[in-house]
Each structure stands twice: as structure tokens, then as C-alpha cells.
């Protein structure tokens, strides 16, 4: 085991990894931990092809999109097999989840498998999960297959990491038909020391692997986590990264690729973002000559700080369903009223699913596709995204991989609140008077001047309204906003109240 996979001989670029190189990379990779030996690609293909259609996420996402449905999918992982199975069954049966997740723990994500092992032992001893997810590499392929068999929906792995090589081999071999993660998004938001180049390489591996399944008729669903650091990410930033990540995935042969967007919590902005994301990704895919990549958008419950009050959290859950349904997302990834405190119990997770599902049901007919404010905002997003993506590609002489690494180093591509050392993280978002997420400081990102003026004007209006200076504190208060007490957010407006 090593925290970093050995450097690959393949030169770094967006090009498809050659088959023989890939074979060698796989061999090295699978040797890093005993359970790697359990991976048998041929058997895995058969396993997938034997699954009924409704348990294949690739199929389910395509059909949901074609039928205009909005699905629900929770997150969820606990330390032991028993806990994990019980959780997944509760989400499937009681929560009516359309897609059932397995979230890995953070040791697994950082390839600290011995520590994960210790966490399992400790959890068994104490009778409660000491890990924040399921250490799926330690458990191996057969256990994956058992979990997939325990539910009657497609299963997806959620593993926020820049190092998905071994995890993905094992879970795909075990019958999981969905895998969340991407090189740019996760490396900038989940790691400190991993270089963007390594992160991208690692996901090129995963994407090539997924494409290998596809070549054998297994239409796996790959997915990009556009929520990034989850902290007031304006749609344009998420979408720039989505465009680059999907180009990288397409380069390896992926054709079924979901795009996640964290909710901005504004009905118009989120609808605009969902539409713009898909359109802009398709626009750049086309430019690169890909006309057959399926890119459904998935809307994520508020990814920033949650309120500590159950009732407030319930409203956020329901609104998240509304935003996803009205925005035309193909699926909503859900949270629970426990979000501000810790991982939800299966019951609370189920509750979150049901609140969201009912909210989706209620709003499933409503679309804002010809609403003037929506059209305006969507257009603005285009004006924000294209200059950045164009510049990134230009910096890479047309290569998305090279361009991204150079652009992040130069701050041309920047992520708010990123822990990664390579990322300047000088861009700073804040919420404006109308509830839109805007850019307070752009760092070195080359947004057009007129676009930045719009952002500044709107945020200056907020500073005025709040009677505070126009400074970084606008960003900090925006981080806390949704976690504030209702009595502070919306007090009785007259008299002292209480």
C-alpha cells in the first residue's frame, strides 16, 4: 500500500491511455492491497450483464432523463458490512431511493487501508460506526456483490478522493454500476498535497476502466462532483470544472457521465445553472468532436453549512427537492435534518429522502424554461464560463489536461475555499441582495470586465442593505448564513419581538 500510486510512464495529456500501458497500470494497481486480487474483469462484465436493467445506473439515468423524471439518491456509509447492508436496505425500501449509495470512509479515500481496518475493529468493539463511510477496499469484491444483491435498485459508490484507482477496480468488479468522482473537482476540494496532475491521472485511469466496461456492453454511469468545496460555489465555477472534467472523461472513452451541481438555493439561479451546465458541456464536447456523450445533471442539496434546527433543515430538504424538480435535474442527491451534526441514522436518512421525494412530486410539473430572469441568468453563466474554459484550453494548446494544470497554477482556474496547495483559492463568492451567489473577489480568473461589474454592483447593493463595508466579511457571513437561527434570519419586523 502507498498513498500515491506509482507514476505512470504515459506522458501527461488528455489523450486516451494506450491499452498496453493501461494493462500494466492495472496490474501494478491491483497489487497494492490483497483484495485487489479479487478483481476479475471478465467475471465482472458477466456480473453486470446479468443484472436486471433497473439495477444498472447507466440505464436508469438514461431512462429517467428520457422520461423527464427526477430521481432521489441519498449518501450513506458505515464502518461494517452489517451496518452497511442494513443502511442500504433501509434507503432502498423505506426511503424509496431510486439509486442506493455506498459512501466510503475518509481513510479509504486517502488509501490508508490499515487505518481503515483498525476503524472497522474499533467499530465492532464499540458497537457504533467509528468511520464516516464503508471501507470498501478492505472488504473487497465479493462483499460488494453481496451489497448490490441486497437491494433492488442501482448502486453507486461515492468516494471523495483524488485516488480512486483501487476502489474503483473493486467496486466495479463487484457490480456497482455508478461511480462518482473526477480529477479536477475532487483534487481541488478533497486534498492538500496531491498535485492536480496526479489527480487527473488517477481519474483518467478510472475513466479508461469504465470505458473498457462500456466497450463490453456495460453502460456504467460515471459522474462528476461539481459541488467542489460545497461552499457557496457560483454556478460558473462548477460548470467550468464540469466542462473540463467531462472532456477528460470523454477522452478516455466515457459516454455516460453525470454532472453534479450543488444548489445555490435560488430557484432561478439553480434552474439556469442546471440548464447551462448541460448545454455548455455539450457545446465543448461537440467542439472536441464528441456527439454521443450523455450528460444528465444531478442537483445536490445545499452543500454549505446547515442549520442546527430540525425544522429549518426540513425546509432546506424540501426546497432542495423543489429546486431539482423545477430546474429539470435528473436526480437530487439528498441530505438529512442531522446534516449540521453528523452522519444521519438510517431513519433520518430515510426521512430526508422522503421529504425530498414528496417535494419533487409536488413541483414535478413546473418549469421556468421561458422565464425572462431565468434566460438572462443562463446567458450570464455562458458569458462567465466560456472565457475561462477557452483560456484554459488555450493554455494547454488545446489539451484539457495540460491546460487545467497550468491554469490552476496560474490562478486562471480557481476554486473557492480549496484546501489544495496548488490552488490559489483567492476567488471568493458571496450572496447578493437577490439571493444569488456572486463573485466578490475573482483572484486571477479572467472573467470579462462587464461580467465582473455585474457581480460587484450586486454585492455592493448587499453591503449597502446590510450596512456593512464591502469586504471579505461579505463572503464569511455568506458561509454562515444558512446555519443561522431563524430568529436572526427572519425576525418579527416590528416592535421588539422577543
Amino acid at each position: 500500500m502507498s498513498a500515491k500510486a506509482s507514476p505512470d510512464a504515459v506522458p501527461f495529456s488528455e489523450a486516451r491511455i494506450p491499452d498496453d500501458d493501461f494493462a500494466r497500470m492495472r496490474e501494478e494497481n491491483l497489487a497494492r492491497w490483497p483484495t485487489g486480487a479479487g478483481v476479475d474483469f471478465e467475471a465482472a462484465v458477466d456480473r453486470h450483464l446479468a443484472l436486471p436493467e433497473h439495477k444498472r445506473l447507466g440505464f436508469v439515468m438514461r431512462r429517467a432523463d428520457a422520461e423527464g423524471r427526477c430521481l432521489t439518491q441519498p449518501r450513506g456509509g458505515f464502518a461494517t458490512f452489517e451496518m452497511q447492508k442494513e443502511l442500504m436496505q433501509a434507503l432502498d425500501r423505506d426511503g424509496l431511493a431510486d439509486v442506493v449509495p455506498t459512501t466510503t470512509d475518509s481513510y479509504t479515500r486517502n488509501e490508508r487501508w490499515p487505518q481503515a481496518e483498525a476503524g472497522v475493529e474499533e467499530s465492532k468493539k464499540l458497537g457504533r460506526s467509528m468511520l464516516n463511510g464503508f471501507p470498501i477496499v478492505n472488504y473487497g469484491v465479493d462483499i460488494c456483490a453481496e451489497l448490490v444483491a441486497a437491494i433492488d435498485k442501482p448502486a453507486i459508490v461515492l468516494s471523495g478522493t483524488a485516488m480512486p484507482r483501487l476502489t474503483s477496480e473493486i467496486v466495479l468488479a463487484g457490480g456497482y454500476s455508478g461511480y462518482l468522482g473526477s480529477g479536477i473537482a475532487y483534487t481541488t476540494s478533497y486534498t492538500k498535497e496531491v498535485s492536480i496532475e496526479d489527480g487527473i491521472r488517477n481519474y483518467q485511469y478510472l475513466d479508461r476502466l469504465a470505458a473498457m466496461y462500456a466497450e463490453r456492453g456495460v453502460d456504467l454511469h460515471r459522474r462528476q462532483p461539481g459541488f467542489l468545496t460545497g461552499t457557496n460555489i457560483p454556478p460558473c465555477i462548477a460548470i467550468v470544472v464540469a466542462v473540463l472534467d467531462v472532456l477528460l472523461a470523454a477522452g478516455q472513452g466515457v459516454r455516460n457521465y453525470g454532472l453534479e451541481l450543488g444548489q445555490a438555493l435560488h430557484l432561478i439561479q439553480d434552474s439556469a445553472a442546471i440548464h447551462a451546465c448541460r448545454e455548455l458541456c455539450q457545446e465543448y464536447l461537440e467542439k472536441k468532436g464528441y456527439d454521443d456523450v450523455f450528460t444528465p445533471v444531478i442537483s445536490l442539496h445545499w452543500m454549505g453549512a446547515w442549520p442546527y434546527d430540525d425544522a429549518q433543515a426540513a425546509a432546506l430538504l424540501a426546497y432542495g427537492g423543489t429546486l431539482g424538480a423545477v430546474g429539470g435535474a435528473v436526480s437530487v442527491t439528498t441530505k438529512s435534518t442531522h446534516e449540521a451534526f453528523g452522519l444521519p441514522t438510517p431513519e433520518k436518512n430515510v426521512e430526508g429522502l422522503k421529504i425530498t421525494r414528496m417535494a419533487i412530486y409536488l413541483a414535478r410539473h413546473t418549469r421556468l424554461d421561458d422565464n425572462p430572469e431565468f434566460l438572462e441568468e443562463k446567458e450570464l453563466i455562458g458569458r462567465e464560463v466560456r472565457p475561462i474554459v477557452d483560456k484554459v484550453l488555450e493554455m494547454g494548446d488545446g489539451d484539457a489536461a495540460l491546460g487545467t494544470v497550468r491554469a490552476i497554477e496560474a490562478g486562471v482556474l480557481d476554486i473557492p475555499w480549496s484546501p489544495n496547495r496548488q490552488c490559489q483559492s483567492r476567488i471568493l463568492p458571496a450572496r447578493d441582495t437577490d439571493g444569488y451567489l456572486r463573485i466578490l473577489e475573482a483572484g486571477d480568473m479572467p472573467f470579462p470586465k462587464d461580467v465582473l461589474e455585474i457581480h460587484e454592483a450586486k454585492l455592493r447593493r448587499r453591503a449597502e442593505r446590510d450596512g456593512v463595508p464591502y469586504d471579505q466579511d461579505l463572503a464569511v457571513t455568506s458561509v454562515f448564513e444558512m446555519s443561522e437561527k431563524l430568529a436572526d434570519l427572519m425576525p418579527f419586523a416590528w416592535g421588539e419581538g422577543h
Binding site: S106, G160, K192
Partner: protein
Amino acid sequence: MTAAEAAGGSPHRTLITGVIGSDTHIVGTRILSMGLEKAGYKVVALGALTPAEEFVKAAIETDADAIMISSLYGQGELDCRGFRDLCVEAGIGGVLIYVGGNLVVGKQSWAEVEQRYLDMGFDRAFPPDTRLDGVLVALAADFSTRGQVEKEVG
């Protein structure tokens, strides 16, 4: 003047901040660090994904007065075990150690969680809804007691 304003920091007091273990949640520690600096403290910010040993190393190097550990992702209960011993072994056993965030997996009774961390040797533990004000008041109180003790001893 609020209690927190009264509890202004001192540039002679050095605080180490950071997020322990494989934990990537940087927002809380970053905002905390900004706030502590603004309040007058000298802050050495280690950021996310910081091994326990690095906290101790930084504390020794900067002769720090307190270590402010964040843990959000739930595995802090594993990461934080033995942290006080590490300090003792490194010869800074008396340093003030705070921990804050989502300190366990799941929503558990705060009183129990707090006790667990106090038993591990932390001077104070802070729940998820902690804001800067409360931290400033606690630091001021602890430093003044310690000042007293040092004076009494000295």
C-alpha cells in the same frame, strides 16, 4: 463592549490551527484563523489534512501557547486519541489544547462527546455550532488563569 470584544488576543500568544487526520474540511479552521488573527493573536495555520505529529512539531517550533485542532469528518475520535501523550513525549505536555467541530460520527449527546475528549486530555472541546466569540472568551479565560498560575508559581 461584549465579552468577546473584551477578550482581545495578544500577539505574544501564538496559536496553532489546523484540521487533523485525513480531514479536508478547511472552511471552519480558515475562518477561525482569520478571526483569531483579527482579534490580535499570532496564528500559525496548518490547514486541512494535518497529521497529529505536525501540530506538535509546529507548536514546538513556534513555542505556541495553544493548539486549536479542528475535526469535522467524524473520524476525529480515532485521530485525536493519544494527542496529549504526543505532546507530553515531545516535552510540551502543558500546552493548551482545544478541539472543535463535528467530533464524532453521527449526532450524539454533546455532554458525552465532550467528556470523551476531556478524558483524552483536551482542555476544552467545542460543539459544531461554535462561533468565534465563544472561543475568544474561552482563550482569554484560560490564558488569564494560566498567567496567574505562572505568576504564582514564578
